[in-house]
Point group: D2
């Protein structure tokens, strides 16, 4: 059966977005790219930066000064609706690459699998990067709170079941994309 | 019945995005914001800027030097899948604001209504702006091809059936948002 | 004598950047656009967001949760060097539009005049916008801490000596630019 | 004598910006970061994208569909003024990192040295990256015209005299920054 969805899971600054853009370039069909960052952009500002804003409701996404990320009930409820929407795009015929940061590891995969219902062909890809290398890239990109990369490097992979893993520590995004594309049916 | 979706339709530089952010701020519930610009960002680069890239496949979105926008078959097929996805988000419980540029006027509304299936409560909003004012704002924002604003100002409203119209020519985004919010059930 | 520099001063979200882009479009010569936002982008991240970062050195730019802006000694010292650089660009023949937020009102103008040395032809322009309208536009743009617009709307104009004032409350950026351009020699 | 300026020269997508941000993070003093991309942002839109805009004046920066970059007389004249401005910032006491793409190789260095006048302490750094690796990163970043990276990888280094060279092909931006910082007096 044709691969309908590719899910990349990896920590912040592990290089997922670059791999996604390379995948879109090397895969012969046009694939849509969606992901966690995109979902966060859809939220009202009050759910995106309560800490900086001083709102402190705790109902959205809170990024601490040390890069710790916590999410509240409104975030989770809307994320479920978003996930249902992405599944519907796939069922409607779009091929979709999702890049995710499963802060709860395998629980994130379970959440997607429940939404997918068992008859969608998914390629699960782990994107690894050594914590110290990811921390350096976090400084180099300059748009992320310090500490996110190191804090997420290992924890996101706990309890995950992958079809394929790539490691950006010593492998370029384009080469990772080619390895992934080779597994796409 | 509670309003589940708000669709804003207006030409480029008519002020839709600003109204969407104000709506997210004034509506008491958290609403997700999606729209045409977002969908375009999901596409592979090869479908987004073929003219600049010299690809010339014509299968994606082509923005001419004069701001004319044309779309090809891959764009339309993936846009249908995206639309189905947004409808699924609404059915899964998210309240969603969509900002659109219906280049084909009422045909765009028909497309959405077919996808919505008749039992989703939608508030249809026309966002108008005098063509010359929109053209000036296009220069002021600095990130759009010249000519889009003027070219789209009238045509997007042909054959549309609105619940409410706002005009940003002399009305601030926040005030437009308040008028729209007052119609949300 | 030919106008060599245009300085726009106004509070956050008063519409300066839009006027600058329109000025660049309507003035027949090519003008360089520099400004406060640009200077801030040149700073190391540690001087840009100490509060969010938890650094708390107070030596750079600190934006409080209520939109209050304070600046420390490193910021001021580097800003003086930056100002000297912009003056040198003008003396080297570039025509330059500067958009500024003089948090200290007329003291900011004094600082520039000291750097300019008296023989550069400057057009001083005040950009006004009613505080409540600017506050609404701050929400509409979505990328500024709430409260900056209202907090700065009046204070930046105290003790300023302008050649010309424009008010974006009811006047489009393009029209403001045309009025300013008409005063450029 | 204390290093007052660091000039990084390398082709598009060779990793200069990442190194600059890492340098700002690891150097104990605050350094300002300026560069070619920044200068281009200061230009009027009519000098930035004439080809796309259809203006075709050839007086600014023209990026061809194949990534070829050519610059016209207005660009060169304003760039000289900009360079004079950066030198003045350094003379006024700011320590400055410049990232450059010397399309004419050593001629670009000569231009800077003429502006610097011989008494500014500069560290000249070459940033190399294998052309095919840079081309892959160009796809991964997704915001550059295809072909720029490969076209510039070698040519920018012709006739250059460096104090130090780094190669991002197999070395992280942070590690390159540490090697450069070790040479800063």
């Amino acid at each position: 059966m044709k691969t309908q969805m590719i899910v990349l899971n990896g920590g912040s600054s592990s290089g997922k977005s670059g791999i996604v853009r390379c995948l879109q370039a090397v895969l012969p069909d046009p694939w849509l790219a969606v992901g966690t960052d995109l979902f966060v952009d859809l939220l009202p500002r009050s759910l995106r930066e309560p800490e900086e804003e001083g709102a402190g409701s705790g109902r959205g996404l809170v990024i601490g000064a040390d890069g710790t990320v916590t999410v509240g009930e409104d975030f989770l409820r809307l994320q479920d609706a978003w996930t249902a929407g992405v599944v519907a795009m796939v069922r409607a015929g779009a091929r979709v690459v999702v890049d995710e940061v499963f802060l709860g590891g395998g629980a994130g995969q379970d959440r997607w699998e429940a939404a997918l219902g068992g008859d969608v062909e998914v390629l699960w890809v782990g994107v690894r990067c050594d914590a110290d290398v990811a921390a350096g890239r976090e400084v180099a990109r300059g748009d992320r709170a310090g500490g996110m990369a190191a804090g997420q490097a290992e924890v996101v992979h706990r309890g995950m079941r992958y079809d394929l893993e790539v490691d950006t520590t010593h492998t370029e995004a384009m080469e990772c994309a080619r390895r992934i594309a080779a597994q796409v049916k």
